[in-house]
Structures are given as C-alpha cells and as structure tokens.
C-alpha cells in the first residue's frame, strides 16, 4: 500500500539504497560522476522489510538500480558499476577510469 503514490518522478534511474551502505555509496559516486539523473529510494536495514526491492529485482540486497532508459534492472554494486560504465562511461573521461579501477570485488548489503 502507498508505494504507488510516490512512484512518479521524472528521473530515468531509480536507485534503491541503504543509508551509509558503502556498496551503495560506490554506486552513488558513479551516478554523480556521470551526471546521471536518479531518484533515491531508501529502504531499511532489515531484509525482511525490503519487499519492494524483492518485487523489483528479485533479491533483498541493495544497491539496486532500475534504468528506464535501457530497461535494465540490476543488483550487486560491482555489476551496477560495470553496467553504468559500459552504458554511460563514454560521456566522461579520466575520472571514470579511476572509478572503474576500484570497482573490482562485488558487494551488496
């Protein structure tokens, strides 16, 4: 209940995240580096309280992004970083390469 009433924003990327989660912050940095428009949706630490993420992405971990531009829904920060870089990385140059270099090990909470 209620969720649909606040689902309508213009940003093409919806970013499910947990406050202070380092894996999520890694995605945040890349979204900002690529100057992408996104809407943050914060969920709770308890996985049992993350039904919305389960419905959207089939998992209860965050980060998750939903990119309406490409139709992609993706979990796991390493996957997301790789996806963002492959999809949007050509729009910037050296800063991006650095982000990629640190995005090796996977991660989610």
């Amino acid at each position: 209940m209620g969720a649909s009433t606040s689902a309508d924003t213009d940003a093409p990327i919806t970013f499910y995240r947990l406050q202070a989660c380092p894996y999520c912050e890694r995605v945040t940095r890349l979204l900002e580096a690529y100057d992408l428009e996104y809407t943050s949706r914060f969920v709770e630490p308890l996985h049992s309280r993350r039904d919305v993420v389960k419905r959207v992405a089939g998992v209860r971990t965050v980060p998750v992004i939903v990119d309406e531009t490409t139709g992609v829904t993706m979990a796991e920060s390493a996957n997301i970083v790789g996806y963002l870089e492959a999809t949007y990385g050509h729009t910037t140059d050296t800063d991006t390469a650095e982000e990629t270099a640190v995005a090796d090990a996977g991660g989610a909470e």
Binding site: M1, G2, A3, S6, Y16, S40, R41, F42, V43, V52
Partner: protein, 169 residues
Amino acid sequence: MPDFEVVDLGPADHPTVGDEAPDFTRPLVTDEFWQDRTLSELAADGRTILVFTPMIGSFVGKYVWDELAGRGWADYDERVVGITASTPYGISRFLDENDSPFTLFADPGNEVADAYGIAHALDGMTGITEPRVAFFAIDDDCTVEAAWVATEWPEFPDYDALEERLDLV
C-alpha cells in the same frame, strides 16, 4: 466534569484561505521506502490535503491517522498526505504496523511546521518541537483553499465538519 484542563495553544499564525502554502521538499515515506518529494509537484497533480500531526508514537498522531483511515480518506480523489516530526524509519514502521494506506513526509527537524506557523515546543522534551494537528486543502497552484488548525493540546477536529470545510465528498 473530569478534573483536568487541556493546554490552550492559542491561535496560530498559519496560512489561511487564499495564501500560498509554503513549499518544501522532504523524504516522502511509504510503508516500504522513502524518497524526496516536493509538495508543489504533488499538488500539481491535483488537489491535495496536507495533514500535520504530532510525532509518530504519540497517541494523538495515531488517533488522527486511524480516524482518517476509517473514514476512507485514502479513497478520495484528493491526495491526502501527512507530515510529522519523525524520522523516515519511524514513519515507515508506523505505516507498516498499522497497515496504513497513507504516505507521510518526514520532517524530524519540524522546520515545515515552523514555516506553516504551527510548531509546538514540548515541555519536558528540551529541544523537540512537533506540529499541531492541522489540515490544509491546497489547490494545484499551492494556494490554500481551506484550513483547520488546533488551538488546544490535545485537540481533535469535529471530523464531519472538517470534511465539509475541506470540501471532501
């Protein structure tokens, strides 16, 4: 008569009919997540009822939201949206545990209530203020069409009269 007196808050200096409703951006909380939303953007979709209550956990807040749910305020064409001086975590749990159909803005610093002239400092809870119970009907240009603001604490509206005043039918 019971031997007690409610606290007289006196009149509030709040926006009235024809005034512009102060705009704000705060996390709008559902029973599952929260995301920043702006009042004027919500209002642009159509007539909006903005409901201020004391903080989550107080009996006053619970009574108001239970009453509005029971009266079917979630089913009106108008969007009914709440706001209170609580964290997103507290509000989300409240909505979930009460199976509430509503969404509430989280304004733990109570700045929005302050902007609406309806902040109330709590005796014995130093540093904490919360909103009075208050209702504002806002049109799609963020102009106040109707308002009801508590002048006592606690005070609940006459809900039948309130629905009439807010033109909820």
